[in-house]
Symmetry: C2
Subunit: 633 residues, 2 copies
């Protein structure tokens, strides 16, 4: 393999590259944030860069476009493959800060209420032990001595094991510290495991990481294992997005070369390590202080995280390699926490398409322990639905597509700086009402903004109930590109991009398909159970939409069924909340296991009812308006 | 570090070497058999070699000797350190074949009677499974599918785990073999573990290895795990002997440099791999067919095998790092069997000086399940004693020294070709009566021969009851070297060495010290329990002495106490037998654990009674003849 160098001039970064890689991939790996919402498909046109030295090769001749620009040649980073050393400039407007790590506010409230799970029993517990010195009357081995002291602290640690790597360090660790040691003990499922034996000061700080590996976005929280307090959190785009926007396209990508599974794996590890590095700096923490990691994610993401071939998920009948994963050490994954720290996928998956992120949501909402009939919808790149109560749980998944996550819609972007979160247009030519992240000029629109935008345009009939843009609508905002109608949401001088932000017909269709899949999934799942929407006593909306979502608007466009609003709760990242709970509580870990065993999976992919409902749900809000009595159309 | 080459001319071997290594060490690593019984101390004079090119450096100026010989300079290999490339010739008489692998007869009889342990449940069981193909109605994961099929075979396999390395191969292994697979499941102590998923033909042959890692000698047996049949066996000198003759000197050696623990570890791995390689060739077996290894050995040997610092064993109060070891994979040790095969130290140690080799002997003899009072003595490089019955067990160790194993006695050698096993001298000047291994001309004397030699010389008063050689004995065989008396056992023309085989005064003293330690250990242990020798209903002699030992002679010299001969059984390698039993039976593994928990250790090292008894036992057979009524002195 050739070893090339790509110089990112604006950043002073010289990134190593291999022939045949795209500039986008190389940038992603080097931590250079180039905007890309389409997963490197060449459709979103966000990733325009200027090659100032050297030449690039087209990925696909048929779709290739380049133009002379100031200082070089303007190309799409995702469509340009390197074959020699090149230098690249990234125009401001293409720097979406996409791969930038951003701090997030700690989760609060019911979802992370540890009180439900009894005493704190984190995934790794740390004990400050003062062992009896060996004497002629007490000659038991170092390991027995340690074990005896641990069982004195908590007899329920049995059976307790040790890995050879840790045992090898034990004799010296005990003697160097005069038998006063901090001992980290991981919960390894059926057994406990001695994970580290360190100087006593190590016990002063026991930290863990809760991880939500989303297809598009990865979120982590740094947690004090002694108190359960969340020290800080951060999110970043999943670096794997350079290899495909959804799980299927990523699986396909891994099958196209022998080293690709490893590269896919490395991309998520790099993403996580960058998040960790941010947290370490932000909170003045060293990696060795972090002695446990609890992970939630969908089946494909988890397989990639562990470098397991996920291709069976793609093939009918979509069986995953494993739903319940062995607890591994951070060293095995090269995750930048204590090398012997337990990395536990505490939330098993139910199936290839109902992953541990969903079962984490169940544990976090507590619906598996509730009397009332609850319904959980997690709208991410995929849409998953769980319905049930303490006695039974049923789940399904529907390929919603990542439109609401900011992928497949030209104007869309994740909820980072400059993203429009709230949107209202009343027909006034001059301006729209909006709010954006960090109050910045619009750069694009995130999930909640997209919902309000559709609702708003439908309300004043810029679009009709089928989503078609009304070309006769009396406004200069109506526009056209390549025979496709569009509607200008923001004029060039209003945006951070010096270009208009426009929603096109195909964007709206993508959004409607996404919402239709979710709605149809809910409807069919309830139908199969002979339940009506009105039977649902509590509904949780988790995932891409933050707490800022206007649920009235979500019902208005038919993303959510029309149920009394007080029964509807937007809960945010319940997968991360679930990872947090299982990081902190053995009881939560047990519940996660039990919940999965108790959950029945309904396969909608070949269900004719689902197809019918999907088509009917492609309307705003639905073909059958009687189901949306509160919506005034 | 310098990288040098030592050419062993007779073998055409160019061995890599580092400056400062002795020729003996280098030869050992290269598999070139140079005789050495003293552990490289420069005392046994066996390792004379001729340096034909280049110069060597003395290890110890004070003891250095070299002489001109045909073709070069004659030196002791153990005392000659390399500092440049050299070439070496090894005279025939110095090629003791010491490190040669030799086949052994399979163990038979009571010690390896599996009938005592119920149905066969080997350390790794292999199942030929035909899994249901995934369908739309049966979408459980690959791992669940495998687990379901395994539990259908045997519900008691729960809880069952899998290592990440094996899980990574699972999806492909299932699909390449159309879901017909051979699955190896290891017993991992508190859990079972899926160790390998392979094509169905792999289930046709399930082999395991029973290993006895002795301080001086390593023995292995290749076993058919389906039937328990012993396919073949082999022994070899432990390659670590170049680093010290006993456990203490080896521990000291490992503490003298940062890479030495690793080298000590590598020496035993190399020894084992050479034994395996012999068995594979001899029995037409491939390494991947071997899916389990059960190991017995003393605490130090086991720590070195796992590359754990054994130095705490050397320091008062001699606590070992661990007595019970984690089950590891062959890959972790680079042992040449299936990489994921379980390597299990199935016999825990009791203490730093009563190792798993002894607890293996207990399980093999069955004394832990017997009504009668039994006594087990294992005379190896160390001497260990267990006394008890099904209700209680007590043990002790005594540093017998390796004299009876062929170390520390100039004329001694292990029981390989040319070793004298039986010896009788009646005063006739011309010849002694003897038998030797493979009927070859005498090269040296092994354990049983040494016992008979002492008994014979004592009987006709060549030596008196204190072991002193009688200089007035009317024989030309009486000789002298450097003011030390000796007795010629074989004349030069009778031996394979073209030199006489002589026993010197200090050799006899070493042998008496060894036997005295064993006898004193037995006496004191029984005394502490208020038991007399006559209370012992069954006595087992295990270890260095083969079944050929004349027990009358062993009693005559006071190696064994004087008990009725029908109560005395020479059982051979009971450690290897124990390793075999635990390889084949879960019940044996459980008994091994329970036995150790039930065993009480008595520390004789600082016991004044022991010191008194040791001195009294330094006589033939003892100062107090009334304790040996059957011995006619």
């Amino acid at each position: 393999m050739d070893s090339l160098t790509v110089t990112f001039e604006d950043y002073g970064i010289e990134a190593p590259a291999e022939a045949g890689e795209s500039i986008l991939e190389i940038a992603e790996r080097a931590g250079v944030g180039i905007a890309s919402y389409c997963g490197g498909q060449g459709t979103c046109q966000q990733c325009q860069v200027v090659v100032t030295s050297g030449e690039v090769q087209p990925k696909d001749e048929a779709r290739w476009q380049q133009e002379i620009a100031e200082g070089g040649t303007k190309v799409l980073a995702c469509q340009s493959l390197v074959s020699e050393d090149i230098a690249v400039k990234i125009p401001i407007r293409s720097r979406a800060g996409d791969f930038t790590v951003r701090g997030i506010e700690p989760l609060t409230g019911k979802l992370v209420d540890l009180g439900r799970f009894g005493p704190l029993t984190p995934l790794t517990r740390q004990f400050a032990l003062s062992l009896a010195h060996p004497t002629r009357d007490d000659t038991i081995s170092d390991l027995q001595r340690l074990r005896r002291a641990l069982l004195d602290e908590d007899a329920e640690l049995e059976p307790i094991t040790i890995d050879l790597a840790v045992l090898r360090e034990l004799p010296q660790a005990l003697r160097e510290n005069d038998f006063e040691v901090a001992v980290a003990v991981s919960d390894n499922g059926p057994t406990r495991k001695i994970a580290a034996v360190r100087p006593p000061a190590a016990a002063d700080s026991s930290l863990g990481i809760a991880i939500d590996v989303g297809t598009s976005t990865v979120a982590v929280e740094l947690v004090d294992l002694d108190s359960g307090q969340i020290v800080g959190g951060a999110i970043r785009r999943n670096g794997q997005i350079a290899y495909g926007e959804d799980v299927i396209s990523r699986i396909v990508w891994t099958q196209q070369g022998p080293d690709r599974l490893q590269r896919m794996h490395q991309a998520i590890i790099d993403t996580l390590n960058e998040l960790l590095s941010y947290l370490y700096e932000e909170h003045n923490v060293e990696s060795k202080q972090v002695i446990a990691a609890s992970v939630a994610g969908n089946a494909t993401m988890i397989n990639f995280l562990l470098r397991i071939d996920a291709s069976p998920i793609r093939r009918t009948p979509h069986t995953p390699p494993a739903t319940e994963m062995p607890v591994v050490t951070a060293e095995q994954l090269r995750l930048d926490i204590h090398p012997q720290a337990a990395v536990c996928v505490c939330h098993p998956a139910v199936s290839g398409f109902v992953g541990g992120d969903i079962t984490a949501g169940v544990v976090a909402t507590g619906m598996h322990k509730a009397d009332e009939l609850s319904l959980l919808i997690d709208v991410g790149t995929n849409g998953e639905i769980v319905v049930g109560n303490k006695d039974w749980l049923m789940c399904a998944s529907c390929s919603a597509g990542p439109a609401f996550e900011g992928v497949g819609v030209e104007a869309a972007m994740p909820a980072t700086a400059g993203a429009v979160t709230r949107f209202r247009y009343d027909g006034d030519e001059d301006a729209v009402e909006y709010e954006s992240v960090a109050g910045q000029s619009p750069r694009g629109i995130c999930g909640s903004g997209l919902v309000e935008m559709i609702a708003s345009l439908a309300e004043i009939e810029v679009i009709d109930r089928t989503g078609n843009i009304n070309s006769d609508f009396p406004s200069e905002r109506i526009c056209e590109r390549n025979d496709e109608l569009g509607f200008t949401l923001f004029w060039p001088d209003e945006t951070a991009r010096d270009e208009p932000i426009i929603i096109y017909q195909h964007d709206i269709e993508n959004l409607l398909r996404s919402k239709a899949a979710v709605l149809a999934g809910i409807t069919v799942l309830l139908n199969k159970l002979d339940l009506a929407t009105t039977d649902v006593e509590q509904m949780y909306l988790a995932g891409a939409f933050g707490a800022g979502l206007d649920v009235d608007k979500a019902v208005a466009i038919g993303l959510l069924p029309d149920i009394p609003r007080e029964r509807l709760e937007v809960v945010g990242n319940s997968a991360l909340a679930g990872a947090y709970l299982t990081l902190m509580s053995r009881q939560a870990r047990q519940q996660a296991q039990e919940t999965v065993s108790a959950m029945t999976y309904l396969d909608l992919s070949s269900d004719t009812d689902f197809m019918d409902e999907f088509i009917a749900s492609n309307f705003i809000p639905h073909t059958d308006l009687s189901r949306f009595p509160s919506v005034d159309m």
